[in-house]
């Protein structure tokens, strides 16, 4: 579980740091009539939901383990 979480975090950090590097030099997000702002917004929403799902997954695993221990 922890492995997946770390993987997701590292992926996200790669995306965000690379994006920041571009904005500083040529304002990538303001180019092409700001379409990449929409992409960034969708990426934020999807990654939030993804992280939330991982958290639910972990909680469900605990429940399953408890149930297995009782039976």
């Amino acid at each position: 579980m922890k492995k997946y979480f770390a993987l997701a975090l590292s992926l996200l950090s790669v995306i965000f740091t690379s994006a920041q590097g571009v904005t500083e030099t040529q304002d990538f997000f303001a180019s092409n009539l700001k379409i990449y702002v929409v992409v960034a917004v969708l990426a934020i929403i999807l990654s939030c939901i993804f992280i939330f799902l991982l958290a639910i997954d972990r909680r469900l695993k605990e429940l399953e383990n408890k149930g297995a221990a009782r039976n």
């Binding site: 303001a30 092409n32 700001k34 929409v38 929403i45 429940l63």
Partner: protein
């Protein structure tokens, strides 16, 4: 609470969101003007300007049906000639003579265009008339003041409105705005659940109240982060992130108040987790949730309206007016709101069912 086991509304939510995603990717932006070059001119000679349109249909309209004016105040000036180079580029000639120089002050012009297919569209403050560097006294070209006459102001295209500053980010209306609708609905569900728990004392209402706050915080976080990104590239282009955060979080009432509202619900979860006795936890939580809902409504809906804020919908800044939401936006905005709300409640139903299993296990 049988609704959490029903399937039809989950399917409805999925279908609506799918429709919204497809629409927000495939519907184009409406006609607009992106650029005029050169953007500064003088009174010394006749200038040739190239005007770049975006999603315009100049060639499909008949040549004489493409019209263009330079507008200053309430005066419209017509160019001396207009040549269509492609679907989105026209070349016009325009200039003021030195004879007119006494009457023409340095000014800023809007560019207004009209053609049969695209209707009327404009670029605000696109062109600046600076003082002439060379005055040619033989110049006799006169810019004509005209009365603009158009057949059709509105186009019949299916497209999202082209707004300066916003441009393509107008599509965020289907993603950023519904996040707050979902949060409001879930927080309201928590409020109702808390009242019912205090009234009836059944634990299922406590589960509803607490779990809907968890999902509400997910959507609140999404709404806040997307809002930050959208705000930076709308209001603060070229400003560093540190300055943007300071301006938005500390100086803008809407963002500061929304953050306070979110923190109240984080505090709700912290308080709940610190009480081990279930009955006590439920009662304290219910009272806290009702209190937090009042704070949420005050912070998100009342407080920002009393003072000024950059955010639309506050302090004389309109939102949801007829200018903000045209018919094409509405076609996707309302399904987006319903779809995201249903998705939120879908996640909520899963959390509630997990809590029910947990209770069954521990009893």
């Amino acid at each position: 609470m049988n609704w959490i086991y029903k399937k039809w509304w989950k399917w409805l939510g999925a279908v609506l969101l799918f429709y919204v995603l497809i629409g927000s990717f495939f519907v184009k932006l409406g006609p607009g003007i992106t650029k005029v070059s050169p953007s500064v001119f003088g009174t010394d000679s006749v200038y040739t300007f190239q005007i770049s349109g975006y999603h315009t249909h100049f060639t499909s309209a008949e040549a004489e049906k493409v019209q263009l004016w330079f507008k200053n105040g309430s005066q419209y000036f017509a160019p001396t000639s207009l040549k269509i180079l492609s679907n989105d580029i026209v070349e016009v000639q325009f200039g003021f003579s030195s004879l007119q120089q006494g009457t023409i002050q340095p000014a800023v012009f809007d560019i207004v265009m009209n053609d049969e297919k695209d209707g009327t569209f404009a670029l605000r403050d696109g062109l600046t008339l600076a003082k002439a560097s060379v005055i040619d006294s033989t110049q006799t070209v006169l810019a004509q003041v005209t009365e603009p006459k158009v057949k059709n102001n509105k186009h019949n295209l299916v497209c999202f409105p082209y707004r300066e500053i916003l441009y393509e980010t107008i599509r965020n209306t289907f993603f950023h705005v519904p996040m707050w609708f979902v949060m409001t609905m879930l927080v309201f569900a928590s409020f109702i659940g808390s009242i019912l728990y205090l009234w009836k004392g059944t634990t299922k209402w406590d589960v509803l109240a607490s779990q809907s706050v968890v999902v509400a915080l997910l959507f609140g976080t999404c709404g806040y982060l997307t809002g930050l990104v959208w705000a930076k590239y709308t209001w603060y282009i070229g400003v560093s992130w540190g300055d943007v955060l300071q301006k938005l979080l500390l100086e803008d009432i809407k963002m500061a108040a929304a953050l306070i509202a979110i923190f109240f619900y984080v505090a709700y979860l912290v308080v709940r987790s610190s009480i081990s006795d279930p009955e006590k936890r439920g009662k304290v939580g219910a009272v806290f949730s009702i209190f937090a809902f009042v704070v949420f409504v005050l912070c998100v809906f009342v407080l920002p309206r009393l003072t000024d804020s950059m955010h639309p919908g506050n302090g004389g800044n309109p939102a949801f007016s007829k200018y903000d939401l045209d018919s094409t936006l509405r076609m996707f905005f309302y399904p987006a709101v319903i779809g995201w709300i249903l998705l939120g409640f879908w996640i909520l139903s899963i959390l509630i069912r997990m809590q029910f299993i947990k209770q069954k296990q521990s009893s």
